[in-house]
């Protein structure tokens, strides 16, 4: 989406590494450098948060908080990690917190509402509709997972981050990443199985 820009400014900003941007923010207080980072990472972070929360408005709000807390804490960023790793960590912290507050506030009302189209799958024969519905099911399943499980699946399968990187983001050993990921996928499979089985039977 941001690719087609041909301006020299974006050319320059693309040539600057994350680490350089951070340095410029810390040492020279250049907010422009932070804007480069925001534009570079906004989509990734927004999607991760959106999939963690399953709500667009919440995602927008939380993502903004993520970037602002990153800006405030930029001095604490150590150059030994990737900026994206650091940013993921902040995003997951915020998203997990929000997710917990949502689930305690809304108490399963959302899942039940979303279940409605499931019980009546014949309503949308069009393929686009079906695809949309599948996505909604997957999102719902993700919402139902434990936050830790959802985190594992989203980092590995949605963001396609390597085991090593996931281990760095979550600050856990790689072996733990593997076992948790396995457990999370099993949990997701269980969640989706009810839908897919029901759907297939209905079809």
């Amino acid at each position: 989406m941001t690719k087609p820009s041909n301006t020299s400014e974006s050319m320059v900003s693309e040539s600057i590494s994350d680490a350089d941007c951070v340095r410029r923010i810390i040492q020279r207080g250049e907010t422009d450098a932070f804007e480069i980072l925001v534009r570079r990472h906004e989509k990734t972070i927004f999607n991760l948060v959106y999939r963690m929360l399953g709500d667009y408005d919440d995602a927008a709000e939380v993502s903004q908080e993520v970037f602002l807390s990153a800006y405030r804490a930029i001095g604490q960023f150590r150059g030994d990690a990737n900026f994206s790793t650091w940013l993921y960590r902040i995003a997951l912290n915020h998203a997990t917190t929000r997710r917990r507050s949502i689930s305690s506030r809304q108490q399963k009302t959302v899942p039940i509402d979303d279940m409605e189209p499931l019980s009546d799958p014949e309503l949308g024969p069009a393929e686009t509709f079906e695809r949309k519905e599948i996505r909604e099911r997957v999102q719902l399943a993700l919402n139902k997972l434990e936050p830790d499980d959802a985190t594992m699946i989203l980092l590995r399968d949605l963001q396609d981050i390597s085991y090593d990187e996931v281990a760095r983001v979550l600050e856990i050993p790689v072996g733990t990443v593997k076992s948790r990921l396995h457990r999370a996928r099993q949990a997701l499979k269980t969640q989706l199985a009810t839908y897919f089985c029901a759907g297939r039977k209905a079809i």
Binding site: E35, Q64, Q186, K189
Partner: protein, 376 residues
């Protein structure tokens, strides 16, 4: 590889993160096990479903909104910065602070002056208030004199404290010299080279010294210095005999201060006995002839002692002197005092009875208020 084993590694297998051997053995098992194949397919489906979730665009102007907040963070200074950062408020604040500090310093100095006046008025030496050329030293003198009464008996402490003032007194003399032509020469020593003031008193006091020598500096009737006296060009006098000379002609006090002398906790000298004496006319004449420098000094002091003049009596008070006298020499002191001036009143401090005073071996602090002869 059994099914159980396979399923724990299926996730890794689907991620293609296993080594070649493990991958091969799993493939072999899957080919022969439909249940595990189904399981693998279901899991793979899950992964695919998640990874095929479409990317969502953040709301329009997402980055701009963040940057607007960032600018806000940058603009909004914290409490400290708000006080000191914007130059246009910074300078007035600093200017105000400077003015306030200056005003405070002025007020405090005024207060201190008042306080000092009150303090000296209480001890009766108000006539010798500040604004004197040797003000600094004068201020130092009472400080040095602040030693608790008990310490007077404490030889060690007395010796220690007695030394300092001596040196200080010397300094006074040295400084007084250029001002006063007839400044005394060897003034400051505690074993003074006596002036030929009165041979009689000298002998007497020598005798007294002998008694006292081991205990403390050989001074029995020791005049307590005040700043005013410091200015006086004169010979220094010790012993009871000196008192009278001191009355007729105020002497430069080169001798030690009563550094070890009592001062109440509040810093006020408490006289054991207080005399009010009046100079005789002849002595007054004497004094007048003592030199213009002296008169000038007195005039200067009188001017400065304006606050004290408000007291009803003080107009006739020409001088207040302090002496320390051994208790057993008190009678003689009084006699000699009477010989030199007419004693108008004698007032012993509360607890002291007359005979007690005489018997007591300790030093007495005597305050002599000298009134001018002619007035009234």
């Amino acid at each position: 590889m059994n099914c159980e084993e396979l399923r724990t590694r299926l996730s890794d297998y689907l991620d293609k993160s296993l080594d070649a051997i493990s991958t091969k053995s799993i493939e072999v098992h899957l080919a022969s096990c439909p249940l595990c194949r189904a399981e693998a397919a279901a899991l793979n489906d899950c992964i695919r479903q998640v990874s095929s979730l479409p990317a969502v665009d953040p709301p329009l102007g997402f980055a701009q909104r963040i940057m607007a907040h960032v600018d806000e963070i940058e603009k909004k200074p914290n409490m400290w910065q708000r006080f000191f950062f914007p130059l246009k408020t910074k300078i007035p604040i600093q200017a105000t602070a400077v003015v306030l500090i200056g005003a405070l310093a002025f007020i405090l100095s005024q207060k201190e002056e008042q306080f000092r006046n009150r303090e000296t008025a209480g001890t009766g030496v108000s006539a010798v208030t500040s604004a004197n050329p040797v003000e600094k030293q004068k201020e130092a003198a009472p400080e040095l004199a602040i030693v608790p009464e008990q310490d007077v008996q404490d030889k060690g402490a007395a010796a220690l404290t007695a030394k300092k003032p001596t040196r200080l007194a010397k300094k006074f003399v040295d400084q007084a010299k250029p001002d006063k032509a007839q400044a005394p020469s060897p003034a400051a020593d505690q074993t003074p080279s006596r002036p030929p003031a009165s041979a009689k008193s000298e002998i007497e006091s020598r005798a007294e010294e002998k008694k006292e020598a081991p205990r403390r500096p050989p001074i029995q009737a020791q005049e307590v210095a005040t700043g005013r006296e410091v200015l006086r060009p004169s010979v220094d006098r010790f012993g009871v005999g000196a008192v009278t000379g001191g009355l007729s002609q105020p002497s430069l006090r080169a001798a030690p201060f009563a550094a070890e002398r009592s001062v109440s906790p509040l810093g006020e000298l408490n006289a054991d006995v207080e005399f009010v004496v009046r100079r005789r006319a002849a002595q007054r004449r004497d004094q007048l002839s003592s030199g213009s420098a002296d008169t000038a000094a007195q005039g200067a002091v009188a001017k400065r002692s304006a606050p004290a003049a408000a007291a009803p009596q003080s107009s006739s008070i020409t001088e207040i002197r302090w002496f320390t006298v051994q208790g057993d020499l008190y009678d003689r002191f009084k006699k000699e005092l009477a010989a030199e001036a007419s004693i108008e009143s004698e007032k012993a401090a509360g607890a002291l009875e007359n005979d007690f005073i005489q018997k007591s071996a300790r030093e007495l602090l005597i305050k002599v208020i000298i009134l001018s002869p002619a007035e009234r």
